[in-house]
Symmetry: C2
Subunit: 600 residues, 2 copies
Amino acid sequence: MNLSDYVLEFLEKKNVKNVFTITGGAICFLMDAFSRNKNITYTSVGHEQAAAMMADSYSRLGPNFSATMVTSGPGATNLLTGIACSWFDSIPSMHICGQVNRHELASFNKSTKRVRQVGFQETNIVSMAKPITKFCYQLKNENEIRYVLEKAFYISQTGRPGPVLIDIPMDLQRKKIIPAKLKPFYVKKKSIKKQKLIKQIKDIIYNFKKAKRPVIIIGGGIRISKTNKKLLSFLKKFNIPLVTTWSGIDSITHDVKNYIGSIGVYGSRSANFVIQNSDFVLSLGSRLDTRVTGGVPKNFAREAKIASVDIDKNELNKNRGLKINIKINESLIDFFSNFEKLSDNLVINKLDWLKKSISWKNKYPIVLNNYRSQKKYVNPYYFMERLSNFLKKDDIVITDDGAHLTWTIQALKVLKNQRLFSAFGNSPMGYAFPASIGASIALNKKRIICIDGDGSIQINIQELQTMISNQLPIKIIIINNNGYGIIKQFQELYLNKRYEAVDSQKGVTNPNFLKIAKAYGIKYSEVKNNSNIDKVLRNTIKSKNAEFINVFVDPNQKIIPKLTFGSPLEDLSPQLSRQEFNENMIIKSVNKVNKLTESN
Amino acid sequence: MNLSDYVLEFLEKKNVKNVFTITGGAICFLMDAFSRNKNITYTSVGHEQAAAMMADSYSRLGPNFSATMVTSGPGATNLLTGIACSWFDSIPSMHICGQVNRHELASFNKSTKRVRQVGFQETNIVSMAKPITKFCYQLKNENEIRYVLEKAFYISQTGRPGPVLIDIPMDLQRKKIIPAKLKPFYVKKKSIKKQKLIKQIKDIIYNFKKAKRPVIIIGGGIRISKTNKKLLSFLKKFNIPLVTTWSGIDSITHDVKNYIGSIGVYGSRSANFVIQNSDFVLSLGSRLDTRVTGGVPKNFAREAKIASVDIDKNELNKNRGLKINIKINESLIDFFSNFEKLSDNLVINKLDWLKKSISWKNKYPIVLNNYRSQKKYVNPYYFMERLSNFLKKDDIVITDDGAHLTWTIQALKVLKNQRLFSAFGNSPMGYAFPASIGASIALNKKRIICIDGDGSIQINIQELQTMISNQLPIKIIIINNNGYGIIKQFQELYLNKRYEAVDSQKGVTNPNFLKIAKAYGIKYSEVKNNSNIDKVLRNTIKSKNAEFINVFVDPNQKIIPKLTFGSPLEDLSPQLSRQEFNENMIIKSVNKVNKLTESN
């Protein structure tokens, strides 16, 4: 058995069914192992960046993780933006890069340590990927392979998950190995600090009881730790408002009455009023970053005591203005199971507060009536409302980056076992489409709803061929505002409408999507105004094919509401009249900080 | 004046006419400066990777260098494969990345140093780009800007050139500055070691006189140092054979009688016989890497004394088996001008040796008669021969990576002021097409011949839109072997024809190029066999438009000749009969090293 066969067998044992790849000189021997292993397959893609994004979404959804295999040099560097998606969103993906023979490495010979390149397509990918991986290692000899694979796997899955990269020189790929003689990786399982956790849980229960206006924030950690079922039984004890972050958006069905909305810079007015007026916050698996808190963290939930469960102690110990009173640095699994033991018959009823919260939700819906009656162009908020109606209970929606992401997260109603995600932290253009391919492959050619922008679809448009050749029923919905709408809104607000590099007036043009779709043999539809949304969705969402749905929205369509720079989270723009605003505030508001603090 | 205006003014003063960009949140203020500066423009592209490749080719051809401007996070990481092209091929490009506000950087606050991300789309691009840039710096305050720009520019252009990256936080982009008060960058010009150089040049002249079979290798350093005219007057003193590396392929017109061919793993038999039988070698601006020397460097020109002029002392001091007897670590400019002074009336005549070399060139041409008479499919070698005939004296040909690159370099006859290049060191799929766009923009919408593969065009296919919207007359010639031919040849040779991930049998499929071209409104032609090459080239090369020319070659078409693993450079495959081989060898040949030493 050679080392390449061993690598495939390892992946197979870890329940990896499919690897995403572009072959190349330095990965040839690893790819050759597929000819001898029929239990694992690969998908050849058009660009390694897309391969990494496919592996990312596969790892979000699949029974286990996925991997990429790529060649050295550009093959490896092409992965980096995709790996960064897994890094910032805590996704355990594995990336296996071929490398030049060991004796061709610049580092092999003292005299060549400072030479730019020795072997053909040699690149120091380990140094380049280090800032965005949990573990990144170049294999030194064949006998390390078991240890390194097991260690990489363990690290990627344990604690706060994340991507790992293993760089394997060609000469090692074809080395003979004797599996029984390979050194394994052992790890002492980290035990939880039980006494501390019990004390903290009791403290949380005490605070919930004492609080008048408590709220629970549901973050992305729920899906990452696969505790969504535990969350549901936990929530049964609480009759209080629930809010989510963007990453937590699909960890709860939106039709439960105490779900108020998502919080943050692009949150809903109702959810932001809830969080800002609260007096006790329990955050479950959220890093509470500035997109959640607003640009001035000390203004976030500023009269509340805050408890936060986060597996990453670095996130809990950020000292940027937001004070976390109860820092629980344990997994959500351990938190929920210990909470369960300590909360027999516990019920937290804050019915007046819940009623107030629900009244906000009813008073400030995202989708307004005038959106529904809009005559010209499709209103994206109304579109999302209608799209929700056409989805099945286990549909998967993946969105890209930009204005359409915001519209989707704000207005799509996520139900039951549906999924809705993007690469939230890295937020690259071009994620949603390859991620939809990875998702469909992970789930046995399941239909996937891909919501993309006219700008962002360009980035990985080459994967249309991968979708077609693998016959994947992906519904590509382009929310077409003919340019980079989110940047345009920024230029309008802060740069006196000096529009540079955002639309066709300044050199940003779209191809003819109808012709592109036809070139690849994809069915194409257009939605030009609200009145034909239903008809098009009816014909496309249920079809067995891939579909390209071009939805025209006003090029000047805004994101509503949106926090402007320096305002506290409760005071979203367009601003309410001061009277109405003040009526909603139970605590005192603060003045706007007169400083640009957010990036976009 | 704000810092962003200053950056643009700096670029303008350095003769940068155009910047390649995709806008985004963190680069908005820098892009806004274009609204106030009419002397510099930008091109919005479809993917930042392409922007970096455009800047690379622009810098190869333009009057000066070019730059990219991209947003933080994915915008910046998307550049990396393109930056690596500049790094390995010594191209001075500049990359300006937006970054989150300084107070949002993880590094800003001690408590967040180990957090994955603080600001939205924050990524540590400086660490990631360090291995592939000469200078990579995150701006700390606005008063550094002049110093940092001048330093970055100086470093990128001086010594062995290369790319530089400057990361500019958003808050600094909009800071007011007073140019007169900014600290400049001063550098003491490094003086050459004149006495040593004179001694070395005398030594070289002595060796040329003494040698029976001297040869000059022309490397990529000639174009990088812009010494092609100096080279021509230098060469007038020599009636000896001349050979090139791949990077040096366009530094000499191929119709001079003493040009024998290119050397190396995919070199010509004639040039390899010349170099291997030589007794004195002068290498001008080549790093003499293993693609030039073969996998066993000690077998390269093994009976010759070797002199090498290389600006990078690390390359000269590689201790991997190849012995360089005279190491000249000076610029080619200084080498040529001092040589000129020391060589009045010098003429090196080795006419018998030159005659022998020319006889090899005539006996072992790349393009064989049976290629010309091939009936089925287009023969790529013959195609290149014909293409040469249709080119003007200043045409620019850019090729991608893979089999078609090899065919082009082997068979295209480069004349007069023509250019022929690829990203030789990094050798990514997807370079040629965006590089052609960069080249066309650098040269006032000049026509560019882009030779690409059916596999590699996928990587940056989104730039078809950039080409069309900028009305660039690029002739995209796809040498279509329906898969990854160079890898397939490897699998045939070394993996017993176990073809994985190389063609449509195993999931690598092409889109319908006719339909793709039509979708973008590009004229499309096909060349299906040798007999219609001329007709199609006649109609397309001279047209004023972009053209898409799909050239069908046999999916099993080989690269001929090619060095197989372990063989010495003189013994290319398909191997000559041992009798014929031995008749060509003036020195003794060596046995094949029975070891796989090359990557592909």
